[in-house]
């Protein structure tokens, strides 16, 4: 019964995780089914465990596995192991450990913002005369759509000015609570990874220049 219906180019682009034009209902639902199925399959597949490493190393080393001259161990950075440790080494190890086990990994990473304490006022504007509500949603709002509602001005121009930290910010406008649209005046549009786009601005100390 294999009528081989190839996916349309739009469906392939969708499956690649890139923004795309409209596609047929069948294509869309089959594409989603393929994604679900693949995800279900991928969840069952796991890499061989650490036992494999031991097996390899046993075959590879001429002496048995795991023998290591102590002098080398003392001077090299090591993953944590349960071995007798000398007092002077303890402090060094502890420091290494403490540094490596910080909160949330090596360094806390604020969302898409470089290390900078300064903030700069940045204005956002959208021409949308038919909209009844527009909000600004982005990395600076943790993608909450209820935080930054924009003010309507004459001529159907919606506007909002926010203090933003120096660095890169991703965002979109949300019109009437449903339509997500990019900012044509942003520095760039980038793939958000989900099949949509995010507008990107990079905020410098002198603010943002957009056309």
């Amino acid at each position: 019964m294999s009528d081989d219906r190839p996916f349309s180019p739009e469906a392939h682009t969708y499956l690649d995780g890139a923004p795309t034009g409209p596609m047929s209902e069948t294509d869309r639902s089959d594409a989603d089914r393929l994604l679900r199925a693949t995800e279900a399959y991928a969840a069952r597949v796991s890499a061989p465990g650490a036992g494999l490493t031991d097996a390899v190393m046993e075959r590879v080393e001429r002496r048995g596995a795991g023998r290591q001259p102590v002098w080398r161990w003392v001077f090299e950075p090591q993953p944590v192991r349960l071995r007798p440790i000398w007092a002077p080494i303890t402090a060094a190890l502890l420091l290494v450990l403490w540094l490596a086990v910080g909160s949330r990994g090596p360094e806390p990473t604020p969302p898409a913002v470089t290390a900078g304490v300064d903030t700069v006022f940045v204005q956002f504007r959208l021409v949308a005369p038919e909209a009844s509500a527009v909000s600004l949603v982005g990395s600076f709002s943790e993608w909450r759509s209820d935080l930054y509602t924009m003010d309507r001005q004459d001529g159907g121009v919606w506007s909002l000015t926010l203090p933003l930290a120096l660095g890169e910010h991703h965002y979109q406008f949300v019109v009437d609570g449903q339509r997500w649209i990019p900012d044509p005046t942003a520095h760039a549009q980038v793939d958000d990874g989900f099949g949509g786009t995010n507008s990107v601005i990079v905020v410098g100390p002198r603010g943002v220049v957009r056309s």
Binding site: T38, Y41, M57, P77
Partner: protein
């Protein structure tokens, strides 16, 4: 704390065999799932991965660019996996449906069935299609990354992935 591939390779070649462990752990994690998906059977895949690491160790001096150990090892592993799969290939009955267990929820059964279908579907793909599809959809890499790993151009990769998807679509569709 973590050494680069190149520096570890150089240390091993200088005589410190124990350092190879770092590469084994690193690439067991990075490519392990790919190997399992390629071979189909987790135990056979583990054997293939082990063989590949041992071969890579013995042939380490022939790795021209130690900083690109990953891509070099990837090729060795892929070949080993294809061999394992060929040796193990029994009659695959693609039309066999998984038995539904009565103690699972509908959603779980559906998920398990879908996963089985993908597993069977992968068996019907060509080697290149399977490699490309697994890297793209099971490992979740971009085309550029896959190109860097396999040495195949992005356009050719896309074609392989597209064909794989079309085949799998049919396999998934046969349930209806």
């Amino acid at each position: 704390m973590e050494a680069s591939d190149g520096s570890v390779v150089r240390e091993v070649l200088a005589g410190d065999a124990e350092r190879y462990r770092i590469l084994v752990d690193r690439y067991r994690e990075r490519f392990g799932r790919y190997a399992v998906a390629l071979v189909g059977d987790p135990d056979l895949a583990a054997d293939a991965v082990q063989e590949a690491f041992v071969k890579a160790y013995h042939g380490l001096a022939t790795c021209r660019d130690p900083d690109r150990f990953g891509s070099w090892f990837f090729r060795i592993l892929t070949n080993q996996c294809h061999d394992a799969r060929d040796r193990a290939r029994s009659t695959e009955d693609v039309s066999r449906l998984p038995l539904a267990a009565s103690d699972r929820t509908d959603a779980e059964v559906d998920r398990a069935e879908l996963a089985e279908l993908i597993e069977h579907g992968l068996a019907t793909l060509t080697e290149e299609q399977r490699e490309a599809f697994v890297l793209k959809h099971v490992e979740g890499r971009t085309y550029e990354q896959i190109a860097a790993l396999t040495g195949v151009g992005v356009d050719a990769l896309k074609m392989r992935v597209h064909r794989a998807r079309d085949t799998l679509r049919t396999v998934l569709g046969e349930q209806l």
